[in-house]
């Protein structure tokens, strides 16, 4: 188990990062910090998927002169490029909601907002 985990250290690291992010989402009171936790989770999943494409000693998958095998798997990179854009979009919307909440209620602490309701 530990040996296997050591071989898959990249995956293990992103799992730990994922849990750290989730911890922040659940326990933080400040809406922006909550959302930063979510960004950490996003990064963890992206790192996990990009790590799926790594091959030992691999080069960037750009053909042409001087290109030498092995190349790393290009597909996860292409997927995560899309994933990043999605994450940015979600962040933009979340921040604009936070701006509105701040203007309306004068606070972005979750417990104070609950009282205000």
């Amino acid at each position: 188990m530990i040996d296997l985990l050591w071989d898959n250290l990249d995956y293990a690291a992103s799992m730990v990062l994922f849990c750290i992010g989730l911890y922040a989402v659940i326990t933080r009171n400040n809406l922006i910090k909550k959302f930063m936790g979510l960004n950490i989770m996003e990064t963890a999943i992206f790192a996990f998927i990009v790590a799926l494409g790594v091959v030992d000693g691999g080069n960037a998958p750009i053909m042409g002169e001087g290109a030498a095998k092995p190349f790393i798997n290009p597909l996860p990179q292409a997927l995560i490029l899309t994933g990043i854009v999605v994450a940015v979009s979600t962040t933009a919307l979340a921040l604009s909601l936070v701006i509105r909440i701040w203007r309306q209620c004068g606070t972005i602490e979750a417990d104070e907002l609950r009282e205000a309701e």
């Binding site: 979510l38 996003e42 998927i49 899309t82 979600t90 909440i101």
Partner: protein, 496 residues
Amino acid sequence: MTSWPPLLVLFVLTPLVGAVLTPAVSDASGRRSWEWALGTMLLTSAMAGALIMRVLDEGPFSYVVGGWVAPYGIELRFDEFSAFVAVVCLLGLLAVIFSRHYARDALAPGRIPYYYTLLLLNMTGMIGFIVTGDLFNLYVFMEILSLSAYALVAISGEKTAEMAAFKYLVMGAVSSLSILFGVGLLYALTGSLNMADVTGRLAGSAEAPLVLAFAALTLGFMVKSALFPLHIWLPDAHAIAPSPVSAVLSGLVVKVGILGMLRVYQIAYGSGAIDLSGLNLMLTWLGAISIVMGAFFAVFQDDIKMMLAYSTISNIGYIVMGLGLASPYSLIGASVHVFNHALIKATLFLGAGALIHQTGRRTLTGLAGVGRSMPLTTAAVSIGAISIVGIPPTAGFLCKWYIALGAMQAGEPLFAVALVFGALLIFVYYIRMVNAFYFRKPQEAGAPAVHEAPATMLVPVLILAALCLVMGVLGRLPLSFIEPAVTRLLAPLGGG
């Protein structure tokens, strides 16, 4: 039926182009945006009709974008479950029609063009989600759908709208990540993202990651469809959103989670690589708990939209229980309830929207006696209420009956009891509502004289109410329509 032009891809693109162009064709206060959105939805609905004719004709078909071959290109696929797009287009169309006066009165003028844009983008996401045959493409369309849904909740201008939207966003984003993680794991195990290809290559994978992949996908879709105890985002979001949006969210968007689950089942059963009986048992229990808890909370609501929102949780429970029981009858019942509940809940939310719009009140106490001044709308809402309880001959009856039969078939009569108990609770709270409409006197003497809503609001509500009855009478038709898909789904299990 010719295969060119590839209607399947144009079907996704039409609402997309219509949506992004809405602000450009309308002026700042939203003139012409209604007409534009209406035209887009009409065109999209026509395409949906053509696609469903084709699936009736020749069974499931697919199209690979860009002239590549699957699994290297992205495959779009249309099967019997995809026929849900018919309801999507119908509700989308009616929600747009309903919005004509509603949006003008309820929303800030500057927001109106963007309201229609987001509504159409929501449709785009939903249609793309339903017709895609590629796991990552599914995620992309799910995000279009989710982002527009968060914004549509926030757009209403109610005091706590932004907070409800933020809560929805955080839960939604976590569930999306869970789904993306599941997709990543499936990719790690098979090297492919095409659903059919993944299904074929899954056998012999290591067990622990496989179980985790399906757990992550299920968890994500369960949040999207607001299954107890992951429902906490739903009541606020659905109650606060503008009424047409509530109808779309409650009728369609939560069903996307269910359709996602059906896709997961297609992969899991088809590959035979994993035994889902543990998951099914859990889903059956959570479904049963959802039925009872959702109905229980609904009984105590005075706010009519809040009540309808809790009733959605209860009905999702029926569907999930049907999925979890995994017998042919229960699956057929659950799949058809996905369609029928969409119609019923849209009737109720649009009807409630019309009542709130005309009277300015949203509590049952405030709406007392409204049956006298708005007879047509309250009649439509009452038909919706009877349907959702599941009294024959309305749309809700046959699917619940099938789910109960399925529980018997699976040898779990206990769950049939839960189903009936839930129906009784639902009966109680809709009796409260109908009672308030018809048999209680208006509370305040000085209540403004109200009359029926304008035609653009009344007609969609009446159409939907009529459909609730028609679907009940035609009950067998959708059941026999969905049957081949369910048979195919269960075939690898040998149960058929």
